[in-house]
């Protein structure tokens, strides 16, 4: 199986390739990609150098251009597609219908992957993109069980790529505006979710508080590990109703990460082509460690050997992990 690894910087790209990534994905340093964080991402020149570095070592580079172009400013996104092609990228990862239509028409020989941000969660949606625009691979949303992925693969002719490690989006990606509701900035429009620019930490009564856009997201005892205030992993209260008792806690999802290492054999059986690791905002040391561990896991699965256990426990958020929607019980 192909291991698709994150690179937020040219140094992380080299680290991922050196650690055994088959493929690296990255984005331009602007709002055209969904990890538009300060100090991250690539210029056109850096991308071309990264593609050359990877190619010399047998690896490929994908370019994520997976935000939704702003009305009146589509040229920025069109230029990103042209620059990715010029840099020699193996494929571009796109989410917006209009941008996909543009890429298919303006660059008919460019390989197109459908971003998870396109939220294509059923064979009809995937086949629509494949038949209409010739997309070659779909990154599946993190709302599907392994059984559903198996069923989807039976009905489509394009490759599937699934997330196996890193942050866990619990909402259908590309269709979530929780962040813009609280902060005015969103994944779809700005390439950011729960942006650090809108986080305020404070201390009240011996407890640490984290606010996002003014809304209290976490309150933790001093000294305890404090998770980043991501909206869907916040701690909230549902007051009592006539039929429901009050509930306080992580009503949407605990502050845990996705780790589907143990599911790799089943994902392979389900017909999945590529395994994706999330984390373009992570350091190159982290990337190298995760890539090495997953390369070992993939090699083990390919040869029928047991997956080395416990390789990644220390790297998961809050030192806790879940297999998320892949297990039906998660719902």
């Amino acid at each position: 199986m192909e291991l698709v690894c994150p690179a937020g910087t040219p140094a992380a790209l080299r680290a991922a390739v050196d650690a055994g990534a088959h493929t690296v994905y990255c984005g331009f340093a602007n709002e055209t990609n969904a990890r538009n964080f300060p100090g991250l991402n690539f210029s056109a020149q850096e991308l071309a150098e990264g593609v050359a570095y990877a190619a010399a070592r047998g690896a490929r580079v994908l370019v994520a251009i997976n935000t939704f172009p702003r009305a009146g400013d589509q040229a920025i996104w069109h230029r990103a597609v042209a620059e990715a092609k010029a840099a020699g990228a193996h494929a571009v990862i796109l989410a917006d219908l209009g941008l996909i239509a543009h890429a298919a028409e303006a660059h008919p020989d460019l390989r197109l992957h459908l971003s998870v941000q396109a939220a294509a969660a059923n064979p009809d949606a995937i086949n629509f993109y494949a038949e209409t625009f010739g997309i070659r691979r779909v990154v599946l949303p993190r709302v599907l069980t392994v059984e559903e992925i198996t069923a989807i693969n039976r009905e489509i002719d394009v490759e599937t790529e699934v997330f196996v490690f890193g942050g866990l989006c619990v909402m259908a990606e590309g269709r979530c505006s929780l962040s813009s509701y609280a902060t005015g900035l969103s994944p779809n429009m700005n390439g950011v979710c729960s942006p650090a620019s809108h986080v305020v930490y404070g201390e009240v009564g011996g407890q640490n508080e984290a606010r996002l856009g003014g809304f209290l997201i976490h309150r933790t005892p001093k000294g305890a590990p404090a998770p980043y205030p991501t909206l869907c992993k916040g701690c909230f209260t549902a007051p009592a109703t006539a039929t429901g008792a009050a509930q306080t806690g992580h009503l949407f999802e605990d502050p845990v990460s996705l780790d589907a290492t143990e599911l790799i054999p089943r994902l392979r059986q389900a017909g999945v082509t590529a395994l994706k690791i999330e984390g373009r905002q992570r350091s190159r040391a982290y990337v190298a460690q995760v890539v090495r561990a997953f390369r070992a896991a993939v090699e083990a699965v390919e040869t029928g050997a047991p997956i080395p256990a416990g390789l990644l426990a220390k790297l998961t958020e809050g030192q806790a992990a879940t297999t998320g929607a892949y297990a039906k019980t998660w719902r």
Binding site: F68, P69, R70, A71, G72, Q74, A95, D96, L97, G98, L99, A101, H102, A119, A120, A121, N122, D124, A125, I126, F128, R142, V143, A151, V170, M171, A172, G174, R175, C176, S177, L178, S180, Y181, A182, G184, N188, M189, G213, F215, L216, I217, R219, F236, T237, A238, P239, T241, A242, T243, G244, Q247, L251, F252, E253, A325, K328, T329, W330, R331
Partner: protein
């Protein structure tokens, strides 16, 4: 500018649905979109009401369209989507996967959960046969204006989210069931107990979100009432009102008056506050500020 009533997001019983559409038939709304938009598990409980509601609304002169689900994953959900196109009624797609079932050359409408953020997407949909698009609620007025102009040039109507708890997210997981320590498959239809969704507050008691099954809505009622003149000037032709309990007929009447023009922002918002004294109002999305905020 006229009014479109969106599909009911909440799990109301058949009798409530029947009464709701009867009342709407007598309202000044121009068109109504009907269908299960959020969770296909709820549909069997009220789907027998749909033909009667369509009949009643069309007899009253309303345009009626049927909505698809907004997150289609199951085989039966795909089949239901295909069947919608076979009814011959206009269909509003809420998931692009629905286009796979669209009969060649058949016109269709596009709901607010389809990502139409730019002219390229709008124009592609227009060429495919879209006649009407309700834009995503998070778009700021500057984008709405560009898209309304593109819509006019492409010959399709553009509408915006006019009133109601904004649909912020949809998931594979049912948060309503989770609040009762249940999974989606064993939900026992608990969302039916909360006809406007279940409130979610921050730890300091600030109302924030609303859980509606697999869907998450804003707690505040997102309203375009204070920005009608700008929207009309931009070329927006309709406001979408999202069904809720309480005096919905009163709400439709109020928006009808506002949509006719000439109601200053403070007066429009004051009218809303009289109808819904307990409700928080928000219009930050259009203003380009956090969606939960209310400008001025």
């Amino acid at each position: 500018m006229d009014l479109t009533i969106g599909p009911i997001a909440f799990f109301w019983n058949a009798e409530t649905v029947r009464g709701f559409y009867r009342t709407l038939a007598a309202s000044p709304a121009r068109r109504v979109v009907i269908g299960e938009w959020v969770c296909s598990k709820r549909l069997p409980f009220w789907q027998q009401e749909i033909p009667g509601a369509v009949e009643c609304l069309r007899t009253a002169g309303k345009e009626v369209a049927l909505s698809t689900l907004s997150l289609i994953t199951l085989r039966r959900e795909r089949r239901q989507t295909e069947e919608l196109f076979a009814t011959g009624l206009p269909v509003e797609i809420a998931d692009l996967g629905a286009l796979k079932h669209l009969p060649e050359g058949m016109p269709f409408q596009v709901g607010p959960l389809v990502n139409v953020y730019n002219e390229g997407t709008l124009e592609w949909l227009a060429r495919k046969g879209a006649t009407r698009i309700c834009l995503p609620p998070e778009l700021p007025l500057a984008s709405v204006a560009r898209l309304a102009a593109a819509g006019a040039a492409a010959g399709l109507a553009v509408e915006v989210w006019g009133h109601g708890r904004a649909p912020l997210a949809i998931s594979g997981r049912c948060y309503h069931a989770r609040l009762h320590d249940r999974a989606k498959d064993s939900c026992q239809f608990i969302c039916g107990d909360d006809p406007d969704g279940r409130d979610v507050e921050t730890l300091e008691g600030v109302p924030f979100l609303t859980v509606n099954g697999v869907q998450t809505l804003g707690h505040a009622h997102t309203t375009a009432a204070g920005q009608i003149d700008e929207l009309r000037e931009a070329g927006v032709t309709a406001l979408r009102l999202s069904p809720q309990t309480g005096d919905f007929a009163g709400l439709v009447g109020l928006y009808h008056r506002i949509a006719q023009g000439g109601t200053p922002r403070p007066e429009a918002l004051a009218g809303l506050r009289r109808l819904m004294p307990e409700a928080a109002l928000a219009d930050g999305f259009l203003a380009g500020t956090p969606g939960a905020s209310i400008a001025g």
